[in-house]
Symmetry: C2
Subunit: 155 residues, 2 copies
Amino acid sequence: MTASKPQPRPCSIADALGVVGDKYALLVLRETLFGVRRFDAIARNTGAPRDILTARLRKLVEAGVLEKVPYQDRPVRYEYLPTKAGRELQPVLLLLKEWGDRHLAQTPPLVWEHDCGADVSARICCRACGEELRRGSVTPHYQVPGWSLAGPVEE
Amino acid sequence: MTASKPQPRPCSIADALGVVGDKYALLVLRETLFGVRRFDAIARNTGAPRDILTARLRKLVEAGVLEKVPYQDRPVRYEYLPTKAGRELQPVLLLLKEWGDRHLAQTPPLVWEHDCGADVSARICCRACGEELRRGSVTPHYQVPGWSLAGPVEE
DNA sequence: CGACAGGGTTTGATTTTCCTACTCACCGAC
DNA sequence: GTCGGTGAGTAGGAAAATCAAACCCTGTCG
């Protein structure tokens, strides 16, 4: 009788996707990071319906990814700025862009240039040892009561 | 009369999100990368309804992220393996995990250990110059006909 | 034989999304 | 002063996606 409703795996990836894991959230963040911060422009550039955009913006503000700031009074108008947490999602966008460019066979419309003059290609390294992270060099450890890597553990 | 339906910004981030930008796709991929590759186990660990999971798995196979492979005949049973393209999404999961751990105030249930013995903390560097990518050191360039960084350009 | 495992499909209710139109507050031109 | 435009949404209703639970099919085990 204890196993009434099996819960999914507790996981911070799932938590993060609860915030940005839908069709528009990351596109909205992309726009704000591009400097496009007003409702109408975000709606146009992402293609999000206006009511959905209203809901997403509210959710992202509540989650601390965006901040809603008035930029004029009379009439009061707001813009949406990425917070620190929002800016820390930029690498996720960069990786998705690179993955999309590599695997989705579209002409890459967007190039990100690094200060050094090169087009950005991300190299993901271990902060501790400096080595590039490769397939197989990273091992997940999963120690949550009642769970293993494979799934829930019966006691 | 030409501007009947304004298209959203063409962007490989949007293309990538067309494949993995929903509630379950990346959780399904997470499971396959954890070694959980069978329908029932993926359904249990992600919490996805079975019919939705069926649809997602099909979409991910079509997109070339997963591969559907029989692991026995009589009765034939399938498992889902990440392809090369699927494995290349692992860094996205790693970044989402780190972001979730940092900003969503849950005990991090999952630790990824690098070969060097340290818990993985990703450092994202420019492949060309080796410097760590920082806020402000990356500039998007957007050269698509009819578009600028800010939005569509009227001609 | 009946029970179970694995991988789904079906059904019907609930929830979200989408599209179009409308509002409200103000500004600037006529 | 009122007409038109801008910015940021709301409102209404149709269409699509999601959800939970039950069902199905193939084959194996006891």
